[in-house]
């Protein structure tokens, strides 16, 4: 083994040691959560063994039933998909325009969105509720979806604009010369190129909508419209908390988000490399 190889092995070991130690601190809570989900309320704080003696797999089933997850789960999937698609379309349109196109007042509009992200609106639930009520959007899916789109909009625009700004423009120029329309450029060139950024936005907003609870409670009345987080509330009373069922519920609730993340992850890894650009060229048929 020459010196170069030793150095490389050492370096890679150090890297992995670093990554693994951070990874451990992240894995511990999820292990703890799943472990707690498999215990009973009596043993959950007493049993110190790493793997508890009796595993209550039934907790997941009970949590699913008691939390009425069936309906809530579907609702959450619906809200998350609708909001995320809405945000990706609306914010990428806006960000594309902010990044590539010219129109008067462009900067004012852009900074307005950025500023909005910064200014928290305490008590805005009062005017918002009154407004939604006047629009007959209280207790409707549509109203809730619109509100949630608004919540994620500013941040997504800022993020996407940053990425659009950085992306090479050659491909767009080529497409424009080929007679592609602006909308076509956005859909066929800019969006596929910005895949890593869009993946980030999808993850960010999915998590946001999936975990959102306050706005849903405020705007929705019917149980049949409530999202998943409503089901989790059943296990945390004002005073008493059923920890194993809560943990089981939280585990169930966390799983789909990790799935979305797993699915989006490859778009982040791929980035601009690995021929994304070439396949794009072959696929593109302008309208």
């Amino acid at each position: 083994m020459d010196q170069y190889q030793v150095k490389r092995i050492l370096k890679s070991t150090a890297t992995h040691a670093f990554l693994l130690s951070v990874a451990l601190t992240c894995l511990f809570p999820i292990f703890w959560m799943v472990r707690s989900a498999l215990m009973t309320n009596e043993t959950v704080f007493i049993d110190k063994s790493l793997i508890p003696a009796s595993l209550q797999f039934g907790n997941f089933y009970t949590a699913w039933l008691e939390g009425n997850f069936g309906v809530y789960f579907l609702n959450s999937v619906l809200y998350t998909t609708a909001v995320v698609i809405g945000i990706v379309l609306i914010s990428s349109l806006a960000a594309y325009s902010f990044s590539r196109l010219q129109f008067p007042g462009k900067n004012i509009f852009f900074y307005m969105f950025v500023a909005a992200m910064m200014i928290p609106l305490p008590g805005s639930f009062v005017p918002l509720y009154v407004l939604m009520n006047n629009l007959h959007l209280v207790n409707t899916r549509f109203g809730y979806i619109l509100c949630m789109i608004n919540v994620g909009l500013s941040l997504s625009i800022l993020l996407l604009k940053t990425f659009f700004d950085k992306m090479p423009q050659d491909l767009e120029n080529a497409a424009r010369i080929d007679g592609c329309s602006k909308l076509g450029l956005w859909w066929h060139v800019a969006l596929p190129l910005a895949r890593p950024a869009i993946a980030v936005i999808v993850i960010f907003n999915s998590l946001n909508v999936w975990n959102e609870y306050i706005l849903a409670t405020l705007l929705l009345n019917d149980k049949s419209l409530m999202p998943l987080q409503r089901g989790l509330m059943v296990f945390q009373g004002a005073h008493s908390v059923d920890y194993p069922l809560l943990m089981a519920g939280l585990t169930i609730a966390a799983a789909p988000i990790l799935l979305v993340y797993l699915f989006m992850q490859k778009h982040i890894i791929k980035g601009l490399s690995s021929g994304a650009v070439i396949t794009l060229d072959k696929r593109t048929k302008y309208f």
Partner: protein, 308 residues
């Protein structure tokens, strides 16, 4: 130049600008209804004294803002949030960047790490609060420390470091800041990684051909390319850290005297404990203006860095 000016009067040119504007219309529409309208309502409220229920709202002009200027606890809470933010900016982002750089290279188990690092952001605050209150617990039972940290310190021969972590003003806020950074680094990680992945690989190759070392590549290729993304991550970190509160509530309740107060908990106190909606809105508006000013300064800095 004259070609451009003549174009302004060109109908096609105007249509083109209008088309460009149409791209942002959906965003602006939603935004106006759900943000701008409540914003003006909130701003209007900040000029009133109102308990949230009364039919009448008493107009007090700028009195709420005047009072806020002299509210010592409020400014202290801002400092606390700034402290958490500074820890997050350095600790959390340095960690996130280091991890992203490591995962940007061709290493084994990359997918595994990427999933694992994203676990803390996905976890519910309930779990995070529970786990950390267990780790930092200062109690004893049957002569042994209940808290994992104290237990571990005592066992590893450092009993002098055993501490009342969450009820000592000197350590409560740093503990909160560290837990917050731990919960948030996953976001910085994936955003920075996405940014790194978008850098043209040919640039690296070219630098290598020119004989640049890895440190020099990082300084001269990676860092300049990453400035905009770093800017976004920094802004988001500031935003997330300045507005942290659920974590604080779940770790120390209403707080340790005033040592763990942050602006959002102060706003919540104004809204639900002292029932002063007008004052809460004044706090919110002031807080927002401060954040906007900070981000403007940051933008200037990042612009300058880009030029260099």
């Amino acid at each position: 130049m004259s070609a451009i000016t003549s174009k302004i009067f060109n109908a096609a040119y105007a249509k083109d600008k209008f088309e460009n504007f149409l791209f942002i219309v959906p965003a602006v529409l939603i935004f106006s209804i759900f943000y701008i309208y409540p914003f003006f309502d909130i701003f209007n409220l900040s000029l009133h004294e109102w308990n949230g229920i009364d039919l009448s709202r008493e107009f007090v002009g700028l009195q709420n803002f005047q009072e806020l200027i002299h509210d010592k606890v409020w400014w202290m809470s801002l400092w606390h949030a700034a402290f958490i933010t500074i820890i997050a900016l350095t600790l959390q982002n340095a960690l996130a960047f280091a991890l992203a750089l490591a995962c940007d290279r061709e290493i084994r188990m990359k997918r595994f790490y990427m999933v694992v690092f994203f676990i803390p952001p996905v976890l519910s605050e309930v779990v995070v609060g529970l786990i950390w209150q267990w780790i930092l617990n200062a109690g004893m039972q049957n002569g042994e420390h209940i808290g994992l940290l104290n237990y571990w310190l005592a066992k590893s021969g450092l009993p002098q470091l055993v501490h009342n972590w969450l009820s000592d003003p000197a350590t409560a806020l740093p503990c909160i800041a560290i837990v917050h950074s731990w919960k948030g680094f996953g976001w910085g990680f994936i955003m920075l990684l996405a940014g790194l992945r978008i850098i043209d690989r040919e640039l690296y190759e070219a630098a290598k051909v020119d004989g640049a070392g890895s440190l020099s590549i990082f300084k001269n290729v990676t860092l300049p390319m990453m400035v905009p993304v770093i800017f976004v991550v920094v802004v988001l970190t500031i935003l997330g850290s300045m507005q942290v509160f659920v974590l604080i509530l779940s770790m120390v309740g209403h707080g340790l005297v005033y040592h763990t107060e942050v602006p959002v908990t102060r706003i919540l106190v104004s809204m639900s404990e002292t029932n002063r909606f007008g004052y809460a809105c004044a706090q919110g508006v002031t807080f927002g203006v401060i954040l906007v000013m900070v981000s403007v300064v940051l933008k200037q800095i990042s612009n300058r860095m880009k030029q260099e």
